[in-house]
């Protein structure tokens, strides 16, 4: 049977080049590792997943602690794919697993790791007002919530991008959710406001639910209506 074989698939090949970094440790190794750690904290993720070639040209057979260099790099997540300029016959490196070094390669000059700020927790965006807000004062805080420990007097105005919390009596105006945050709310220990507004929807003192005034209450927006609810 002279069966006809299906044609073998063509092997698709294309070139891809990676930039391997060459690390050249210097003696004393303890200091060099401390400097490396600083570099890692300043440039988070810079070494992650990058192929690294370890250049031992500045090491000697008797450099102290040389034996711990490769394990120390592994511990820091640095992937060594090749070792150059060392001598496998040095007793210090006898225990090392020497990776098969790729051959050739061109030096592309020194590289400076980019400085990045480590991403900390985001800045809190709440404004705390410890003094009473007096008549004629206007407090604007578009970045977030406002917490007021005292009272907001008649004739004072407080505007927040987020919610407004008043631990004293709210007798002035409270305007929450400026900039279109309909989830913002207004909370107070004593609702006696001249005007409350959330995301542009407002109610004057006359339009407020009398069941909620002069007592602890919250104001929220439901659809296009301001809802007044007592607070426990």
């Amino acid at each position: 049977m002279s069966g006809t074989h299906p044609p073998l698939p063509r092997i698709r090949m294309s070139g891809r080049s990676f930039l391997a970094l060459t690390l050249t440790p210097e003696a004393p190794l303890e200091d060099w590792l401390v400097a490396l750690d600083h570099q890692i904290t300043r440039s988070v993720g810079f070494f992650a997943g990058k192929p690294i070639i370890l250049d031992l040209s500045m090491m000697q057979a008797d450099t102290p602690n040389l034996a711990f260099l490769l394990p120390a790099l592994k511990e820091r997540g640095i992937r060594v794919i090749g070792i150059e300029n060392g001598d496998r016959s040095w007793p210090a490196v006898a225990e090392w697993e020497w990776p098969e070094s790729p051959v050739g390669g061109r030096s592309s000059g020194p590289i400076t790791a980019p400085e990045e700020k480590p991403e900390g927790p985001p800045e809190p965006t709440t404004l705390l007002v410890e003094d009473p807000v007096r008549s004629g004062q206007h407090i604007v805080w578009p970045d977030g919530d406002i917490i007021i420990l005292g009272a907001v007097a008649s004739g004072a105005e407080v505007s927040a991008g987020g919610s407004i919390h008043v631990y004293g009596a709210l007798r002035g105006r409270a305007i929450a959710g400026i900039g279109g945050h309909s989830n913002a709310r207004i909370y107070t220990r004593n609702l006696a406001a001249e005007l409350v507004a959330i995301d542009g929807f407002y109610a004057t003192a006359e339009e407020m639910d009398p069941a909620c005034t002069e007592k602890p209450a919250q104001v929220l927006l439901s659809g296009e209506a301001l809802i007044f609810r007592p607070l426990p």
Partner: protein, 271 residues
């Protein structure tokens, strides 16, 4: 160390000038060296209340502009020799008050007196701001009614933000003086209760001055009530307030007319 005290309110007609004169005289009676400075340029009244209107030669604006020195402008009280008055100008307006000029005068007064009492004009404009600018302490004169309380609140906000002390991060000592307080109207609920006023303004209470015809009578004869009728209820209330300013602990009460038992019985029968 001299203290600069501003008597202020925001609203007009609540009793700033009466209070400046009565408190100043009460302080001076205790031996403190006191000067009353009238900042109501253009509408001066303090000279009348002090009975010094016929002795005014130079005034605050003359001193600020260098036309006269302080010694020429100060009027010494004839009844209490530790009490002096620096009158305002009636012919100028409040624009003549310059921050540098006021600072210079206040600095000079600090050297000569224990208390510099600045009688602020009504309003929140230049005159009131100049009067409060250098203050260490403030007496906020408030009547127990809503508009006066709101205006006082506004003034307290300004004391905490625009004065020299506030700008250097310190706080002015603020005291509330409730004036024109009528115990009978308060009992009927026609006036704001003291506790409500204190809760709204949240500053300590210096005293409660009862409404009394003695105050008007005293003003008309050109004497602070603490000099003209020292035993009257308002005068006693002012004297107690002055003692509190000097740091004494005196419980706040509302002085009333001292009436005999028969007066009291008779009144009850009639009503």
């Amino acid at each position: 160390m001299a203290k600069v005290l501003v008597v202020t309110s925001g609203k007009g007609g609540v009793g700033k000038t009466t209070t400046s004169a009565a408190l100043g005289a009460a302080l001076a009676k205790t031996g403190q060296k006191v000067v009353l400075v009238d900042f109501d340029v253009g509408l001066r009244n303090l000279d009348l209340v002090m009975g010094a209107e016929r002795r005014v030669v130079f005034d605050l604006i003359n001193v600020i502009q260098g036309d006269a020195n302080l010694a020429q402008a100060l009027i010494k009280d004839k009844r209490i020799d530790t009490l002096s008055l620096l009158p305002a100008s009636q012919t100028r307006d409040k624009d003549a008050l310059t921050p540098e000029g006021v600072a210079k005068v206040i600095d000079e007064l600090r050297k000569k007196f224990d208390w510099v009492i600045c009688d602020s004009p009504a309003g929140i404009e230049r005159g009131a701001q100049m009067a409060m600018h250098h203050a260490d302490m403030a007496v906020i004169v408030t009547n127990p009614e809503v508009s006066s309380v709101r205006d006082s609140d506004r003034i307290i906000g300004m004391l905490d933000s625009t004065t020299e002390k506030a700008k250097s991060g310190k706080k002015i000592d603020k005291h509330l003086l409730l004036t024109r307080y009528d115990p009978q109207r308060a009992a009927r609920g026609d006036m704001l209760a003291t506790d409500d006023v204190l809760e709204i303004l949240s500053i300590p209470l210096l005293g409660i001055i009862p409404e009394s015809p003695d105050v008007l009578k005293a003003s008309n004869v050109g004497a602070p009530v603490t000099i003209a009728e020292p035993e009257s209820p308002p005068a006693r209330a002012y004297a107690e307030a002055a003692r509190r300013l000097l740091g004494e602990k005196v419980e706040v009460t509302i002085p009333t007319e001292r009436k005999g038992l028969f007066d009291w019985l008779f009144k009850r029968r009639v009503s």
